[in-house]
């Protein structure tokens, strides 16, 4: 009992028996999991399995029909959405950088919303560009359309990290990139993970990506958790034929 309580207190994200329907169709049923501080959890499943819905429940873009979502130990249903989101980094499927903002302006959005002064923002931007390996060639003043897809997504990650959030969400961030760039960026995330130890929830439909990046992998199908565990555990003991098929793709 005391062990469970300890785990619960350490959880940055906690889902307890979450149900969610869209227009009467259930998209999530009885979802329960936790993400501990400093852990990377990968959500994986075919399209329509409800992975992105889980991310939106974490940052309050969606509310559960039943059950309780807690983030940083607070019930999302009763916390201030805007305030919550500014504490969570979010990397979107497409980088979704604002085309009318320069790289610098894109990165500084959340710090500016939080009221940081210009000097602090500028210093942070330089630090992040440095971290992402983009500190050359007047990158700050470029517009997103002047960047490659991989560069754009690196800026997307820098934007998510800007206000130094404790929790970062990735929503299939590399699905539109070519395999080489994707591998590069996966390595980058791995490097950041070791360096920054951010709590991370990473949605993907690529099992290799999930096994590569995740401390814990959650396999979803039709809104239910099919299996959850460390990559080695899942590889060793797939719980069903569905999971086996999923893992098999890894060997293709």
């Amino acid at each position: 009992m005391s062990l469970i309580v300890t785990l619960y207190i350490c959880a940055i994200v906690s889902f307890q028996n979450i149900d969610k329907c869209f227009d009467g169709t259930p998209v999530l049923s009885d979802i329960t999991f936790q993400v501990k501080e400093g852990e990377t959890l990968c959500l994986i499943g075919p399209s329509g399995s409800g992975k992105s819905t889980i991310l939106k429940l974490i940052n309050g873009l969606l509310k559960p029909d039943s059950g309780k979502v807690e983030v940083f130990g607070k019930n999302v249903a009763t916390s201030d959405d805007v305030e919550l989101r500014r504490k969570i980094g979010f990397v979107l499927q497409q980088p979704a950088l604002f085309p009318h903002y320069t790289v610098k302006q894109n990165i500084e959005i959340v710090p500016k919303l939080l009221g940081w002064n210009d000097d602090k923002c500028a210093a942070r931007t330089l630090e992040l560009l440095d971290l992402m390996g983009l500190n050359s060639g007047g990158m700050e003043e470029r517009y997103p359309s002047q960047l490659s897809g991989g560069q754009q997504q690196r800026i997307g990650i820098a934007r998510a990290l800007a206000a130094d959030p404790k929790l970062i969400l990735f929503d299939e961030p590399f699905s539109a990139l070519d395999p080489i760039t994707r591998t590069d960026l996966q390595d980058e995330v791995l490097r950041l993970k070791k360096k920054l130890r951010k709590t991370t929830v990473f949605v993907t439909h690529d099992i290799r990506e999930a096994f590569k990046l995740g401390d814990v992998v959650v396999i979803l199908d039709e809104g239910r958790i099919i299996q959850m565990g460390a990559p080695e555990e899942i590889k060793a003991n797939p719980s069903s034929a569905f999971v086996e098929r999923f893992i098999d793709r890894d060997n293709e």
């Binding site: 805007v82 989101r85 979107l92 950088l97 085309p99 009318h100 919303l113």
Partner: protein
């Protein structure tokens, strides 16, 4: 933005500045000239400030403006007052004017009535000489032939026994008479164009034509507050041939009305030499008025239409209704819309601004709405995920990305307004339409072009300027 606001206030200030005396006039140049003469005489002999609201589109509009206090003085003709405005025959109109709180000032000393003119070689000297002269070629104006007190009544009163003539365009009659294509035509006695020709004036030997003595009509309230004004106006004396000469200077020679009025008053010793006002060519003052009208109307339209477009982008169920109703406004013919304004807002600058801004609403609302609707949903989601409020998403993402749409709407609105504003002269708002209307009235293409060319240039310039501005504001990247 701050610059735009400052500009708005300058425009507002220019249009709303309170003056002690407001002098009006009708559209034609004699009326304007009399208005300007009165204005300069008052300015030079008192400390009062005078507002000029010239170019009111007709006797009834000018009279209503006077009654309602939009103006304090305007020049009118006795015949027009008794027959067209009060519709009361006889000379007893002065009492009726008093009941309306108005005073008929002392006559300026000339009678601008219908006269008949002929060539010096025709051997005619009085209207009664026309008796049984069916052999003469009559070139009467359409208006004179049709009017109840025109040709028909004249024929009967003098017993001329003439067949009903065909009407012709008045603008062509003088030339036709000078070239010997016709023998007799009608004219206004003070028409400046007569100055160019040596026509013979046929004496009205049976006093058929009613008197159209020019007088100032004055609000009683003004006369009580500033009794000295009555004295000043009564000193202004202009005889028929002098008036014709002044009209000639304005209409034919193209001298600025301010200069003609000043030179006349200087000659009469009613202004001092040092007080010479700066004369602006009418094209310049009309262009300034035109810009004031269109820019102010467009600015106010932006202030209404952009929030309206934002509102309906949040409440799509109102979108159809609002877009449809602004669309309906735009289908109302411009002249009709300007006409609707008179009973609601009177005459002059304000109703013209309101009519113009109503026209400008649709393109701006529609483009604001379309622009906001076209934001990529993923960017809205990104904004929300980053912790922007709806208002911040609007201000930081949707509006900047919709800017080129909104600018295109403003550009359309401004161009439409520059064209439509030429009609604002009909309700006394001034602008380049004054030249166009005067030119149409006088059938003088050069005067029409004096208004039409600058208006077309303004429209092109505005279009070009807005395109340049839009390019500057367009989001980069």
């Amino acid at each position: 933005m701050n610059k735009a606001l400052a500009f708005l206030f300058i425009l507002l200030g220019a249009s709303l500045g309170a003056q002690d005396v407001a002098i009006g006039s009708k559209l034609f140049s004699e009326s304007r000239l009399l208005g300007e003469i009165m204005a300069q005489a008052i300015e030079s002999q008192t400390e009062l400030t005078v507002e000029r609201r010239f170019g009111l589109g007709g006797s009834l509009i000018a009279f209503e403006a006077l009654k309602s206090g939009s103006i304090d003085i305007y020049p009118e003709y006795t015949g027009t007052i008794s027959e067209a405005i009060l519709k009361e025959s006889g000379d007893d109109y002065e009492n009726e004017l008093n009941d309306l709180g108005l005073i008929a000032g002392e006559s300026f000393g000339f009678n601008n009535s219908y006269i008949l003119i002929t060539t010096e070689t025709a051997g005619l000297s009085a209207i009664s000489d026309l008796k049984n002269r069916g052999d003469l070629r009559f070139g009467f104006s359409n208006e004179f032939v049709k009017r109840g007190d025109g040709f028909g009544a004249l024929n009967q009163a003098y017993g001329l026994n003439l067949p009903e003539p065909r009407g012709m365009n008045h603008g062509l009659a003088y030339r036709a008479l000078a070239e010997g294509q016709i023998d007799v035509t009608d004219a206004y006695s003070t028409d400046g164009k007569l100055q160019e020709f040596g026509f013979q004036h046929l004496e009205d030997d049976q006093n058929f034509f009613p008197e159209y003595l020019a007088i100032p009509l004055i609000r009683n309230k003004l006369a009580q507050e500033h009794p000295e004004i009555l004295g000043i106006l009564s000193q202004i004396k202009i005889d028929g041939s002098k008036m014709r000469e002044l009209n000639y200077l304005v209409e034919v020679m193209g001298s600025p009305i301010e200069k003609v009025a000043y030179d006349f008053l200087l000659e009469e010793g009613m202004v001092s030499k040092g007080s010479k006002p700066s004369f602006r060519h009418p094209i310049i003052s009309q262009t300034i008025e035109h810009l004031q009208l269109t820019l102010l109307a467009t600015l106010i339209a932006i202030l209404i239409a952009v929030p309206m477009g934002i509102y309906i982008s949040f409440k799509p169920r109102f979108a159809t209704a609002i877009l449809a109703s602004t669309g309906v406004i735009q289908t109302v013919p411009s002249l009709a819309l300007l006409g609707f304004m008179i009973p609601l807002f009177g005459i002059g600058f304000t109703p013209a601004i309101i009519a113009l801004l109503l026209y400008a609403l649709l393109p701006i609302v529609r483009n604001t709405y379309t622009g906001l609707q076209s934001t990529d949903p993923i960017l809205i989601e990104a904004g929300r995920a980053l912790g922007m409020t709806n208002w911040q998403i609007l201000r930081m993402v949707r509006l900047p990305l919709a800017a080129s749409f909104i600018m295109a709407g403003i550009r359309t609105a401004l161009t439409i307004n520059i064209g439509t504003a030429t009609l604002a002269a009909f309700i006394g708002a001034g602008g380049l339409g004054e030249s166009i209307i005067t030119g149409i009235n006088l059938n003088d293409n050069s005067i029409i072009l004096q208004g039409a060319i600058p208006a077309a240039l303004l429209a092109l310039l505005a279009d070009w300027g807005m395109a340049a501005l839009a390019k500057k504001l367009e989001p980069r990247g």
